[in-house]
Amino acid sequence: MDMPEPEPGTLVRKPELVARLRAVLPEDAVIDAPEELKAYECDALAAYRCPPLLAVLPETTGQVSEIMKICHDMGVPVVPRGAGTSLAGGALPTADAVILGVARLREVLEINTADRYIRVQTGMTNLSVTAAVEDEGFFYAPDPSSQLACAIAGNIAMNSGGAHCLKYGVTTNNLLGVTMVMADGEVVEIGGAEMDAPGLDLLGLICGSEGQLGVVTEATLRILPKPEGARPVLFGFDSNEVAGACVADIIRSGLIPVAIEFMDRPIIRATEEFAGAGYPDCEALLIVEVEGSEQEIADQLARIIAIAKRHNPVAIRESQSAEESTRIWLGRKSAFGAMGQMGDYICLDGTIPVGELPSVLNRIADLAAEHGHMVGNVFHAGDGNMHPLILYNANEPGQLESAERLGAEILKLCVDAGGCLTGEHGVGVEKRELMTHQFAPADLEAQMAVKDVFDSTWILNPAKVFPLDVSATRRARA
């Protein structure tokens, strides 16, 4: 994976940049010491690292605006950073870039339960938004698995999903408005607390734009009443095909489970050894969770079990208590940790049409064998969002590259099956060069033309999302 060479002219102007930023920001908001900058050299795609020129940690929208004005004026690239949990390298800096971290933008600005929204600064973590409204019986629905750490700013940048988005949708379906600082420092309000906004759907464009269009500093989020309860059921099957067919039948039935999670044999084995959740010994495993009152849950689970029984499951485990629910979720929640214990891994997140699940899983197994890597699959089956985990050994030369080659093959397979490169992690740097497999030149040109409108000199998170050669001319404008 390549990143553009840093601009020497920018590097030599570091003292001037620091002085200008210090003049408008609190003393400790500008970080320029090399040892402190190491903290910003990567995000959760830790295989790639590069300390930035500087990091800034503003506390207000006004300060973000001042930072952008200065960087725009000096032609310095800015890489916005939420909590740095991106798996796609969305917050990976270059040596000539300023990291703009939102970590100090952490205030709740307004809670309105009557109109069902909350307005927050975007440095707040995903889970702390729910915590702010929980006592009043509400929650914020998108639940990426990093929700304890990840920031709303990053959720908006990546249009994050989570296990429960089958019922509640992803970030874009729960975002009502933003305050955004443009590349030139101008502050713009898009949307508001209403359920729709006038004019073109710029909010829909901003959400998932990976820091290409602006820095979102405040967000108005839809909050929902907390369900009365939730309970899962676990099914074991003797083949991926049968599990996949069961998923399709559940979806068609009119039931709307909040989650349908799928684990294949490599993952089941790994998690059993790691967490000992007591999963059945089988080829594929589904966890289906439903919500509602006790009676509603029992009723829905009975219907789901009836559907699953038509597919001859080798195991059925319906949770009867909170302890059993925790146990059922234990293996799923420790899947990444279990794989992590077996070695280093790359986590992909291509999406496919649900009907293609069995054939794509089989093809992934073939590709894994060809490339000599172990691949486990654990994912949100209800919406076809796969998470193949490719194991490799970082200490063995060539292993990362080989795992990446396999990853690229798997993602191309997802696209060819009628899906896409990324369902919830974003393109970042990781999938940048694969974009031409999914999009024709005119498709990418249209997307870059949109960035031109918001950021004519391409200083915001350049070298991300678009293949480097495709964006080269535009990036040269900065």
Binding site: G137, P198, G199, G204, E296, M435
Partner: protein
């Protein structure tokens, strides 16, 4: 109501013909079924109805792909044959406008046409998975796809939804659908004034009842639940316990459908003089707003988030509003020209929107006059 000045008509039969037509034409007005256009625009008519047909339907994955000119009724019938439907309850405004014609799926997406179920499931744009469109240079652009989770690149699907044909001519759309519920019930609470209605709707929407409709008209609050009967009986019981006032229960699709179609299509304002405005506002500010603007008649949908107002002809509603935003849906061309159909935007948003239009349509061919 004549809106456009049509000189000639372009009627491409394929995406390639759309490209050719755009390359050879000047200003054009894009038309699907011609049933829901609200803005003013001038130019040659470019009719998309020749691009018709569902190209892919996978009931097991809740998705379909259709050419943009496919009639809505064909899609409705196809989905119904598999016990599915479009989740966002597409309004049929032909009665309100006094128009004929067959709505097309492309027109639905271009208008982001969304009905009462918006309050629970989302708007049309939330169910749009992918688009193909032809830009002002006559080039085909695709974005999104046919899967439910997709964050690959910038989301031009959302941008195209609700862009009223100002950025390109949609040629194909893919959408997510919803299974039909087992049954439906409407709880009708009579004798409510506007503040009382908002209080009931906000309270009910703040509880985990999964309401799929919350509207107020003719002094009645209508609350809709959809799902399995056992579950609905339980929730209706809980709702009644919270309401502590008389409420009628109307069960089943046969009895509920006319009620919610009436709300969806703003039937109450059909064949009545006056201008029709659609207002978006925070529910807690809805009552204050109608007191300030004194409409001839009013209907609340989306729990008081969407207001339909019947105003005396030519009234400048926006001048009286202190909150929210308003679209002038039905009025004379003269009034629309004078007051503007779409709500004015801040200078910076207007600049961004104009910039996007220029990028997608550099020669200003599409729907000139529409959306500012």
């Amino acid at each position: 109501m004549s809106i456009l000045t049509a000189k000639e008509t372009l009627a491409p039969q394929s995406e390639a013909e759309v490209c050719a037509a755009i390359r050879s034409t000047g200003a054009c007005v894009i038309e699907g079924g011609g049933t829901r256009r609200i803005g003013l625009a001038e130019g040659e008519r470019l009719i998309t109805r020749g691009l018709s047909g569902v190209t892919l339907y996978e009931p097991g994955t809740l998705t379909f792909v259709a050419q943009a000119g496919t009639p809505l009724h064909e899609i409705d019938a196809l989905l119904a044959s598999e016990n599915q439907r479009l989740a966002f309850e597409v309004p049929d405004l032909r009665g309100l406008f006094g128009r004929q014609g067959d709505s097309t799926i492309g027109g639905v997406v271009a208008a982001n046409a969304s009905g009462p179920r918006r309050v629970a499931s989302g708007a049309c744009r939330d169910f749009c998975l992918g688009v193909r469109f032809v830009d002002g240079r006559g080039q085909v652009v695709k974005n999104g796809g046919r899967v439910m989770k997709n964050v690959t690149g910038l989301d031009l699907v959302k941008l195209m939804a609700g862009s009223h044909g100002t950025l390109g001519v949609l040629t194909e759309v893919s959408l997510k659908v919803q299974p039909l519920p087992e049954t439906v019930v409407t709880l009708v609470v009579p004798g409510c004034d506007a503040p009382g209605a908002v209080a009931i709707m906000s309270d009910m929407l703040g509880q985990p009842f999964d309401l799929t409709g919350a509207a107020w008209l003719g002094g009645k609050v209508m609350l809709r639940l959809e799902g399995f009967e056992t579950s609905l009986r339980y929730r209706v019981g809980r709702m009644r316990a919270r309401l502590r006032c008389a409420a009628e229960e109307i069960w089943g699709a046969e009895a509920c459908t006319p009620i919610w179609c009436g709300i969806r299509d703003v039937e109450a304002f059909n064949n009545r003089g006056g201008d029709v405005w659609r207002v978006s506002v925070k529910p807690s500010e809805a009552t204050g707003l109608i007191e300030a603007v004194q409409p001839e008649d009013v209907m609340f949908d989306w729990g008081g988030n969407r207001l339909w107002l019947l105003m005396k002809e030519g009234t400048d509603l926006r001048a009286k509003m202190t909150t929210g935003h308003a679209t002038l849906v039905r009025a004379s061309d003269e009034t629309k020209r004078r007051l503007g159909v779409f709500h004015p935007q801040s200078a910076v948003l207007a600049r961004i929107s104009a910039g996007l239009r220029h990028k997608f349509d550099p020669d200003g061919k599409f729907n000139q006059g529409m959306m500012g």
